[in-house]
């Protein structure tokens, strides 16, 4: 097994196949809990814990679980990890748990997590499955954080609770309300697609230049 392989599985989730910006998965927590950077990070950490734990177990037991009941087994595994995350957050950081509210239990229903079990963890060796999970969760966290940071800076004039502007700054309250989530996500997706378009254009130009040069 090549060393590059696991690195590749890790990186694809962060950028090329980013679960939010490219696959457009996990929209529910994406829009709901990104009204501040700290909430976004907490949600990202909880999802990462659940995704990595589930991928590890699913991959480990992939030859034992009969395929007829695989989805039920995935859900049992995911739900167990979600419950563990829920109680741990409640015990350690009750303030953050209160902010995230129902969205912690709802990680069970995040299609990103079930999707990775079905598409990847149940077919590949444990090491690759864990790398894939880390990459996807990292990409999810990156996306949550970029949305959370933009919304908190514009909507509250702060980042992680630290004031960034003077008292004269009038916060755009709409940014921390639900419409702000849609607006920010729309702008970021626009950027991602524009970037992809420009890259394809550039690659086409290079290919053209090479052809005419040779």
């Amino acid at each position: 097994m090549k060393k590059n392989e696991s690195y590749e599985e890790f990186v694809k989730g962060i950028w090329r196949d980013n679960p939010v910006f490219v696959q457009v998965l996990g929209m529910c927590p994406m829009l709901a809990v990104t009204n501040s950077a700290i909430n976004a990070i907490a949600m990202g950490m909880a999802s990462m814990f659940v995704l990595v734990g589930s991928s590890f177990l699913v991959s480990l037991f992939r030859h034992v679980i009969p395929k007829q009941v695989r989805i039920s087994c995935f859900i049992i595994i995911i739900a167990t990890f979600v419950t563990i995350a829920d109680y741990t957050l409640l015990a350690l950081v009750p303030g953050v748990h209160k902010e995230l509210g129902a969205f912690i239990p709802l990680i069970v229903a995040n299609c990103l997590i079930l999707g990775r079990q079905e598409a990847f963890a149940s077919r590949y060796p444990t090491r690759l499955a864990v790398m894939d999970a880390l990459g996807m969760a990292g990409g999810f966290m990156l996306a949550l954080f970029s949305l959370g940071a933009v919304r908190e800076i514009l909507g509250d004039g702060a980042l992680f609770g630290f004031r960034l502007f003077s008292e004269n700054f009038e916060p755009w309250i709409v940014m921390i309300l639900p419409p702000g989530g849609f607006l920010t996500l729309g702008v970021i997706l626009l950027f991602f697609n524009w970037f992809k378009y420009k890259k394809d254009e550039f690659l086409a130009d290079v290919a053209e230049a090479e052809r005419s040069g040779s």
Binding site: H63, C73, Y87, P94, P125
Partner: protein, 227 residues
Amino acid sequence: MSTEALKQSPAPSSLRLVMTLAIAGLVSGVAIIGIYESTLPTITANKARELREAVFKVLPDDVSAMQPLVYRDGTFMTVEEPEKDEPVVYGGYDEQGDFVGYAMPGAGPGFQDTIALLYGYLPGEKKVVGMEILESRETPGLGDKIYKDADFVAEFSDLSVEPEIVALKKGTTTQPNHVDAITGATISAKAVVRIINETHVAWAEKLPAPGTEPPFEGEPADNGTAQ
């Protein structure tokens, strides 16, 4: 993962399917019980500490001990642990064990969802002396001013409940029972006032006459951290 585990037959028996799910469920159940049992003490302690801090926050500074008080069978009394969903108020006592005031929990509909709050009440002077929002999902930036706006919270630090608290437009308050509502969050501000009024009316008949409150029982140091 070099040694490949048993290959799956094309159609595993039903027994195998049932057993797989049963074992998965069993392991999952044990894991959940484990995490529940291990985090429960911390969670209960956190809740008790939060409540304790809130009670001391809404009552005057000389309060150093508290105990839960309930109204059962026509008498107002001290209990070790209130029953689930039983209405309860918290008596605040000073260092000598003398009664100072009540911390009264109340809840009611706000603009978005239930607002739960706690307010300090001195029965002798019929005054609200502090208010703390325990739970609210009011609109960020507007309705959340009911706990983020220090001026609004300060309105409840010396407020008469006779005949009842009234929320008025900012600048038009004249009487000791008037509260400045919040511009842009009138519904949330009025909800807070309504919850306090309703809680006050609900308890008015049940509270004992000023001066005859139940005495403090137990050690000041560890009381209140109900387990």
